[in-house]
Each structure stands twice: as C-alpha cells, then as structure tokens.
Amino acid sequence: MKIVVTVKQIPDPNAPQKLTSDNRLDRGGEAVLDPGDEYGVEAGLKLKEAHGGEVVLVSMGPAKAADAIRKGLSMGADRAIHVSDDSLAGADALLTAQILAAAIKPENPDLVICGTESTDGSTGMVPPMLAELLGMPQATFAKQVEVKGDKVSVHRQTNEGYEVVEAQAPALVTVTAGVGEPRYASLKGIMAARSKEVKKVELSALGIEKGSPAESVEGVADAETRKAGEVIEDDGNAAERILAFLVQVKAV
C-alpha cells in the first residue's frame, strides 16, 4: 500500500517564539520536524512494516525545510515531495491544503496520514480541508490505525475513551501521540537518507492560482495570565474546605 504522510518544519518549540512585524511567526531561528508529524511518520512506518508498500513524505515549506524532510527519511520513509516556492511564505490553511492536495493527488495513495494539528500554527484546519479536496473520508484523533483489506479502522480518542471508526480507503487520518513513541532515526537511516529521492516541486507545476487569502490576522494580544489560586492553610478543617471547593467546581 502507498501511504502519504504530511510533514512540516516548525520553529523549535523549546525556544521562545517571536512574531514578525506583520504578525507572522518568526521562522528565522532553529527549526525542527514538527513533533506531531513524527507520530504521523511513526504510524506510517508501522503500517508499512505490517502490510508492505511505501511511505511518501509530502511537505510545503522553504528550502531549509529539507532538514525536516531528511529527518523523516532517516526514520525510514522511502521518498519525499517538497513543494517550495518563495511566494508561498505565509500561506493560510486553505492555500496550504490546496497545495498539499495538488501534490498528493498524482500519487494516488491508499492512505494519507497527518498530525492532528501543527505545533506552531495549531489551527487543525489543514487535514480536514485536505481530505475534502482529495475527496477522501477522514478519521481524526486516531490513537491506533489499522488497515483491513480496503477498510481503514481507527481508534478515535475522546475525553471518555475511544470510538472505533471505519472508513473506506483511500482515506485520510489524523493521528495523536497515542500511536506510539516515534523511533530514533538509526545512524544507518541517516546515511541511507542521503540517496533517497526528494522531488522538488514549484508552485507553477501544480497549476494552482494563488487567490486572495481566506484568513488574515487582524491583531495579536497576549493570552490572559492565570490568576493565582486560593491558598488553603491547614487550621484543622482544611480537608472540609478543599472538599467544599471540589464540590463547588463539580470535580466530585
């Protein structure tokens, strides 16, 4: 089976994040493969190990995003498609989904795997849009993905537990950290990635007209800082007061 995994390079989440003057994320510093996408790669590689086939990474990003793609290839993905075009800087969710769809379509994959949302933008809109544009059913928040014949079955994480959702392949799934710890890229994998194909694609080759953005950022404000909680000092009846508080917030 052919599995496409979408991957994105993002600013190192462990470093402080800055915005540029036009309210876009500053992408000038250290950059990494989105940790959320590492789960996607892991899920894809597990399915390949079980069913055979190939794992193709698809990414949209600047030239330096090649480092993130290389990491995925080092983990074991077979090849990659990298859509890179300077005019795509700052692309919104819809344009991103259109670009990814145009790059993925010719591959005719049996399964497309995405992270639930990117760790930098965190809109979570690209995967559903992508499924729509590819005309595929989507199953989101999967903590387990199985393929049985031409059906894709996932355990969809919910607040209470999980739902079992089945879809007809080809399908798109978004995966959570529940799919399992991403493997280390082995040293052999790092060296082998040198000779794996990374196909560079420019915007003009995809036949997409870049229209006006569907989203724009009107302003940015700091999130409200959490107020200090109430400190209960034990004067003999602390337990009752804590219990009363828990009852009040309906925690018990």
Binding site: A66, R70, L187, I190, M191
Partner: protein, 384 residues
C-alpha cells in the same frame, strides 16, 4: 574553507546527543559507583548503529565518515567517558584493524557481530615492559605445525573481559630483523582459546564503567589463518591504528571537557554567595570563559584531524592527530580541574558529576600515547 558540518554530520550529532543524554547520562553515576559495565547501554548503542557508523555499507556499516564517528564518541563521552572509551576501543582498536588489514574470511567471521555491537574486540599492544616504547614488545609467536604458538602478557586491555568480548588482536615478535627492532606481527586470538587467560580487572582511578584487564598467553595455539595481514606488518599496522585512535581519544576528551563546562556553568548560575550567584563574579566568569574557549579550540583541531584522517593523502595527518590528542586531553584535564574548583567543597564529593569527571579525565593524557610521546612526535614532524 568550510567550518560547517554536513547535514548528515549534524543529524549524527543531534541523534547521539539525544541518545547520550536520555540513555547514557542517567546511568553514569551508578555504573561508576558500582564499577559496572553497561551491557544494556552497549546493546542500545549497537541497535542505534554506533559501532558500525564509520564502516562501509558493504561491510555492514552505515557508511558514515570518520568525523561522524568522532562526533559520536564526543557525545557519548560527554555523558559517560567510560562508555565513550568502550565505543572508541571497540571501533578504533577492535574492529578497524580487522576491516583494514583482515582477510575476506576474517572480516566475514568477525565484523558482522562487531559492527552491530553484539560482540566487542580488543587490541593488545601494551605490555608490562612495553608502553610508549611499543617496539619493545616481548610477547612471542612461533610457528609450529601450521599454527602459531603465542607466549607473553599484555597490560591495560580495554573490552577484553566482558561477557560479549569475542577476542583480541595481539602483537607479538615473530622473528629478528637487522638492527635493534624485532619483527612484529599481529594475531587474532578468540576468547576461550586454550592458553589465553583474561586476568581479573584492575582497580582503576576512573573509567569505572569500562572493562580493562591484563592478559596472559601460555602456549596459546592459533591457526595460521589468524595472522592479521602479512607476517612482519604488525609494527606498521599498530602505528596506523594508534594514529586513528588518537583522534578518537581527542574527541572523547572534547566530550568530557564539554561536560565539565556544562556542569560548571549550571552550578555557577545556581550557587549563591554574598547574596548573588557566583556566576556574577568576574573570578568565576573568567574561568568559564577560558574553559569555553579551550573546549572550542580542542574541538576545532580534533575535527580538522578527523577530516585529514579521511583524506588518506594528507601528509599532515600524523602531526594533526598528535596535536589534537595532546591539546584536547590537556584541555579536558584543565576543564575538570576548574569545574571542581568552581564547585568548591561540593566538587570534592560524589554527589555532583564533576568528581567523576575529575577522576575520569587523567587517563586522557596517558592512553593511546602519553602527552610526552605526542610532544615527541610533533617535534619529530618539525624535523628535529
């Protein structure tokens, strides 16, 4: 001149750093305290591909370059120098001579397990009476009915006595030559060969997580096919082996020096005296600045020597290897000394890792060519 690492070299560094800090560093204090060899860590290093990193793919390796391997040694040693020397000795002294001088049969027999880290191979050169003067070897090998019979003893042999030690390459006299120096050849002696005894381990000052033993050979018979390379090639072989090993020991030293700097910076920011962190005092800042500068210089010449090693035509390699080994080992010694000094009384007790660094660091100036020998070699390159 390009001072940037390649994308693969950066990935090797990041991966080894992550593995070393998550897996090797947390176990280091306990292995040190209990003088215990970290079998589980070595197995995981094997799974990661560390032992085969610098070997060609057709030999079962990853096809990385020598600098990538040195970076791996540096990062592992930054977490635990005892584990670092286990890797360095297994690769530079154990597997590399078999890869470079071995026959097809010898390589096929031993390398798959060695490059996967399932087995370790040792290198027996030093003897009770032959250290810096390696040509003073007394161990003898005599031909007898199509076999070689080895008699003698070796000192300070890393990786020779673990449960996964597969054997040792020993240098031995195989005849007399014109002049003072005897003819030296190298032999592969598998663990368990009758007459080959691994003696009880030493009580070492540091490197407690590494495995080191004296070895004795009493009428130890090995087949003719266990001669490594040509008869009489031993001297040239070990000079080559030691030159590569020197760069790897330089990398080990850089890793340990970096660990000293890391620990000292962290502590200096935390430790309060006279109402402020000691890092705010110039006396401490100057120490840290000097440490950082020396670590960076040591890393530079080590990487330079590693690149020269890969470039087989480099006439400067031997000189650079000695300079890197000398400068990096002495840098690590000074860094460990200052790290303990900055920790004050806490540096003298084992609750902080710097006490272990201080014990581990001294051997860097001794193993695989003492500082005195390196200075001698550098002077020789000056034509004196």
């Amino acid at each position: 001149m390009d001072f940037e690492l390649s994308p693969e070299q950066k990935q090797v560094r990041d991966l080894c750093r992550e593995f070393a800090q998550e897996v090797v560093a947390p176990a280091a204090a306990e292995l040190d305290r209990e003088h215990r060899f970290g079998y589980d860590i070595v197995r995981q290093m094997g799974d990661l591909g560390l032992f085969g990193l610098g070997f060609p793919e057709d030999a079962g390796g990853a096809g990385g370059d020598f600098l990538s391997y040195c970076i791996a040694v540096e990062e592992i040693s930054r977490a635990d120098a005892g584990v670092g020397i286990t890797l360095e000795a297994a690769v530079s002294l154990g597997a590399t001579p078999i890869q470079e001088f071995g026959t097809k049969e010898q390589k096929e027999c031993w390398l798959p397990d060695l490059l996967a880290g399932r087995k370790l191979w040792a290198f027996g050169l030093t003897e009770p009476g032959a250290g810096s003067d390696a040509a003073g070897t007394r161990t003898r090998a005599q031909p007898e009915d199509g076999e070689w019979v080895i008699n003698g003893s070796k000192q300070f042999i890393t990786n020779s006595g673990t449960e996964i030690s597969a054997g040792v390459t020993v240098t031995a006299l195989t005849g007399k030559r014109e002049g003072a120096r005897g003819e030296i050849s190298a032999f592969l002696v598998p663990t368990g060969t009758p007459g080959y005894t691994v003696e009880p381990s030493y009580r070492k000052l540091g490197w407690h997580s590494s495995d080191t033993h004296p070895l004795t050979f009493e009428d130890c018979h090995v087949p003719a096919g266990n001669l490594l390379g040509k008869q009489g090639a031993g001297y040239r072989q070990f000079l080559h082996t030691l030159a590569g090993g020197r760069v790897a020991i330089a990398a080990l030293s850089v890793g340990l020096a970096q660990a000293c700097l890391d620990a000292a910076v962290t502590y200096a920011k935390e430790r309060q005296q006279f109402g402020k962190p000691i890092a705010s005092f110039q006396a401490i800042q100057f120490k840290l600045a000097d440490m950082a500068m020396e670590v960076e210089l040591a890393r530079m010449i080590t990487y330079r020597a590693a690149i020269a090693y890969s470039d087989r035509g480099s006439v400067e390699f031997r000189k650079l290897a000695s300079m890197a080994k000398l400068f990096a080992s002495e840098t690590s010694k000074r860094a460990a000394d200052q790290a303990v000094q900055i920790h004050g009384g806490y540096g003298f007790i084992e609750d902080y890792p710097v006490a272990r660094y201080w014990r581990d660091v001294k051997i860097n100036e001794i193993g695989e060519g003492t500082s005195e020998v390196q200075r001698m070699l550098i002077a020789r390159e000056l034509g004196i």
